[in-house]
């Protein structure tokens, strides 16, 4: 639960992280709560994001993206200064199928930040984190852009 005090900077950083990320916007992500190292995000149920046409269950790939994004947002909400981050690894346990027709929420807690790496846990659910659809653990690299200039990726790797 996001019951810790909300640093105003973190709220803004997380909002920008959703609104200024093309893929998050394309999937319709929305931050619903921001705390100190804690973020909750929602993805709306959409027919064009269905992964199993027979049941209408949303694609696992959408939940993967939501968990990745909410974990990154929690790192942003935990850091004292704004730095670029990149996912190092992400493990997801799919506990059950999501209920068709329902929005999915994901709640993440960045519980440890070091100079180079941040560690996060997250859970995805419809109504309550007590009844999860999926669990995730992730590690992020901090200052991942590390000296690379704007547009550095426009060139192929050497």
């Amino acid at each position: 639960m996001t019951d810790s005090p909300k640093p105003p900077d973190a709220v803004q950083v997380v909002q920008v992280m959703v609104s200024a990320t093309p893929y998050a916007r394309a999937l319709g992500f929305e931050a619903t709560a921001v705390g100190d190292g804690r973020v909750t995000m929602r993805t709306p149920y959409r027919k064009d994001l269905i992964g199993d046409p027979e049941t209408g269950v949303i694609a696992g790939g959408v939940i993967t993206a939501l968990l990745d994004h909410v974990c990154g947002a929690a790192v942003m909400a935990a850091m004292k200064e704004r730095q670029s981050i990149a996912t190092l690894d992400l493990r997801i346990d799919y506990l059950r199928a999501a209920e068709p027709g329902r929005d999915i929420f994901a709640e993440a807690h960045c519980y440890k930040v070091t100079r180079s790496v941040a560690f996060v846990r997250a859970v995805a659910f419809e109504d309550s984190p007590e009844n999860p659809v999926a669990n995730a653990t992730a590690a992020f690299m901090i200052a991942s852009n590390g000296g690379r200039k704007m547009g550095a990726n426009m060139k192929p790797p050497r």
Partner: protein, 143 residues
């Protein structure tokens, strides 16, 4: 190794007609028993606008899809394998170009399969992301 029991047309019907696959605009290419899934670049897939770099979630979706499709190719089952867990390693930032993915079934048990998948852009030997996953196999005759 026996010949694939599933044709490219069947894989297309099964995987490319799914709404989320259409959303990602992915395509597949089956040569012999080697299946490649292609995710064409578009701006919507970006997660880091500064570099720019693909969103980790797009690579995760691509890797999971190629893992499930490769399992279907090996098994020829009427039912989709269900994802139990996946671990994704992000090895390089994804550049704003097309991305390819292939998977290898590490172990095919009676109930569980273990699969490794890799995604790359410029060189097959230099993957940008890798997935290890476990999948629950649903038997067509047991449902």
């Amino acid at each position: 190794m026996s010949a694939p029991s599933v044709t490219e047309a069947q894989l297309r019907e099964r995987f490319l007609t799914v709404p989320f696959a259409r959303f990602l605009d992915i395509d597949l290419d089956l040569r012999g028993d080697e299946l490649t899934i292609v995710m064409p670049y578009r701006e919507d897939l970006i997660g880091n606008v500064m570099l720019p770099a693909l969103h980790g979630g797009t690579l995760g979706a691509l890797l999971e899809l190629v893992a499930v499709a490769t399992l279907t190719l090996k098994q020829g089952h009427a039912h989709l394998p269900k994802t139990i867990d996946i671990t994704i390693d992000y090895l390089r930032s994804g550049r704003p170009v097309d991305t390819y993915a292939r998977a290898q079934v590490t172990r095919l048990g009676r109930r569980i399969a273990s699969v490794r998948a890799e995604a790359w852009q410029f060189e097959r030997s230099d993957p940008i992301a890798a997935l290890n996953g476990h999948f629950l196999l649903t038997q067509a005759d047991a449902s």
